[in-house]
Amino acid sequence: MAEKFINARGMQCPGPIVQLFKEAQNCAPGDILCIEVTDHGFKKDIAAWCKKTKNELLSLEDDGGVIRARIKKG
């Protein structure tokens, strides 16, 4: 199972989810996507995105302004 890292720091809405969506299209089910974002709206957005796109949010942490999410492709 592959793991993909996406650096979306500094990107504003909807940049991070657009980036995530594009990368997720090239992933196989079960692959892990790890994304780092500085847009603080992303914390709520990522949950909605995962629910809508049927992907699983494994973890979400705020590391002093850098939001790190790990997602399992559904």
Binding site: Q12, P14, G15, I17, V18, L20, F21, K22, K52, T53
Partner: protein, 158 residues
């Protein structure tokens, strides 16, 4: 993945409103939606090429075309535009904060497969020709829009 549809009518040619509509469109596309944007009246200016296109037009058509902003890079704000000063301030702030401008948002929309449709009737009224609009735009009328809207679960008029 749920394939929901979203339709957006872009009636306004204001910078802020064009941004809002494109951010929603790109967000929806990134959530796996099929998105159609229908540009009509002032909204057509968002799709205009920045360069002058040489076409034979009637006097009134030419005048109209000259008075309206030529493309996404020249749009004004819906509030506090102050003859373009407000819009240029907004563009500077957007650049500082790394917010995509309207041109970039259009490119992203096209890369995500968002359908951009220009209303042929309002093009005719405003004297805007197909050659004056950016590549990749489709041309259609109200029936196409209604057909798409019927299948959509969100429809916005901006």
């Amino acid at each position: 993945m749920d394939m929901n549809k979203k339709t957006i009518i872009v009636f306004s040619g204001d910078l802020d409103k064009a941004m809002a509509s494109l951010i929603i469109a790109n967000g929806a596309a990134a959530m796996g939606n099929e998105v159609t944007m229908f540009f009509t009246f002032w909204g057509l200016n968002v799709l205009r090429k920045p360069d002058k296109v040489k076409i034979k037009k009637s006097f009134l058509e030419a005048l109209f075309g000259w008075m309206m902003p030529r493309g996404a890079g020249r749009l004004g704000l819906s509030k506090m535009n102050f003859g373009g000063m407000g819009a240029s301030m907004m563009r500077t702030i957007m650049k500082q904060k790394n917010v995509s401008d309207v041109q970039e948002l259009i490119e992203t929309a096209q890369s995500l497969g968002v359908k951009l449709i220009a209303c042929s009737m309002s093009m005719d009224v405003m004297g805007i020709r197909a050659e004056e609009l950016i590549d990749g735009v489709e041309f259609a009328g109200v029936a196409t829009y209604l057909g798409e809207a019927d299948e959509a679960n969100v429809n916005l008029f901006i």
